[in-house]
């Protein structure tokens, strides 16, 4: 699976690892629901560093669609909410 971290680029992450990422993703989502800025930045930092650790960075010349997109580590609650407002409600694949 290809994961984009906004402002940083794309990573190829083994499909098997997505389950682990989903757990971290839930924490991010929870932080947004609870409007907890500190929790959000901590959860985001964990999630992103996990992606960077288990993933392989794609080279700049590759033109590929990402399967998943993540906000960058400096994103505030307002940033994430603005991004989510732009997107339609999606469904978790699998």
């Amino acid at each position: 699976m290809i994961v984009r971290i906004l402002g940083e680029g794309q990573w190829e992450v083994p499909d098997a690892a997505i389950g682990d990422l989903n757990a971290l993703d839930d924490q991010v989502e929870q932080a947004v629901t609870e409007q907890d800025e500190a929790k959000l930045s901590q959860a985001l930092a964990e999630l992103l560093s996990e992606v960077r650790t288990i993933g392989t960075a794609l080279s700049d010349e590759q033109l590929l669609d990402s399967d998943l997109i993540l906000p960058d580590v400096g994103s505030s609650l307002a940033d994430v909410e603005a991004l989510l407002a732009d997107s339609a409600e999606g469904l978790i694949p699998g």
Binding site: G9, D25, D65, L68, I69, G74, V80, S87, I92
Partner: protein, 282 residues
């Protein structure tokens, strides 16, 4: 509920789909998209330049503030040397206010530097992708019919438009941050040029400097006064001697010449004493 992950992945795709639908011949989309990519690259480069300009401005301001903080430290030192602890305290209080501003500026500087690095990296990434896209675009246009090109274009196009969406967001965010910081930087510049900060920071003659100067001139006056007092203290005894010495020759019939000399000398003394008084008023 879908995670952040899934929901965000739809952001750019929806926009890409909309653009693709606009053209009957999908190959037109390629040319249109390529134009947009070049425009965006220009915009990113301008964004980098803007951020760099703001960063330099903050560096200048920080330098100015730290010079003023140093000056206040020196003032505090000077005030202590002349035994004015109250003045020293005032100077140090002001310095801690400046220090706060300086810390803020340094944080902003770090933030801007981060934005600048991100944008530089983004423009490199976009450049590489734009180059890849151009190659792909020419291949698709040359090789495939409109119908065949459709699916190929979809791939290339959504890949690049996602990148453009990402970079576009980065530019927008950098612009927002830069604007905010410029507004603050402008406010500090205005304060500096209006002289409102000068009072507190000592770029020109603030009240601490004035008071220190006053102290210095007062002590000069005191020194001068005591020097004069000392010379006057020896003066009268000398003239008494002269008068006393003159009294003997007076008997010899020369008192008329001696007396005027003694009185001139005597008149001279109040005149000298008036000088320190005038200095006191200064």
């Amino acid at each position: 509920m879908a995670g952040i992950f899934q929901r965000m992945s739809l952001i750019f795709r929806a926009k890409a789909d909309k653009t693709l639908d606009k053209y009957e011949d999908p190959r037109q989309t390629l040319d249109y998209s390529y134009q947009r990519q070049l425009e965006l690259l220009q915009k990113v480069r301008r964004g980098v330049a803007d951020v760099a300009t703001s960063r330099k401005r903050i560096e200048l301001q920080a330098n100015g503030l730290s010079t003023q903080a140093d000056k206040l430290t020196q003032q505090a030192q000077k005030a202590l040397e002349v035994g004015r602890e109250d003045l020293a305290r005032e100077a140090l209080t002001r310095r801690s206010g400046l220090q706060q501003q300086l810390t803020d500026l340094q944080a902003q500087h770090a933030q801007l530097q981060g934005e600048e690095e991100k944008l530089v990296r983004a423009s490199q990434r976009l450049q590489a992708k734009v180059d890849a896209f151009r190659t792909k675009k020419e291949t698709i246009k040359a090789t495939y019919s409109a119908a065949e090109a459709q699916s190929r274009i979809g791939e290339a196009f959504s890949g690049i438009s996602e990148e453009m969406g990402d970079v576009g967001l980065a530019v927008q965010r950098a612009e927002d941050k830069t604007l905010q910081l410029q507004a603050r930087a402008g406010a500090i510049d205005e304060l500096l040029s209006s002289g409102a900060l000068d009072d507190a920071t000592g770029t020109q003659k603030d009240d601490i400097t004035l008071e220190l100067e006053q102290l210095a001139s007062t002590s000069e006056v005191e020194d001068e006064l005591s020097r004069m007092k000392a010379s006057i203290g020896s003066g009268p005894s000398a003239s008494t001697q002269a008068i006393g010495g003159g009294q003997a020759p007076a008997l010899e019939g020369q008192p008329v010449q001696q007396a005027p000399a003694a009185s001139t000398d005597y008149q001279g003394q109040p005149t000298k004493a008036a000088q320190p008084n005038a200095g006191d008023l200064r």
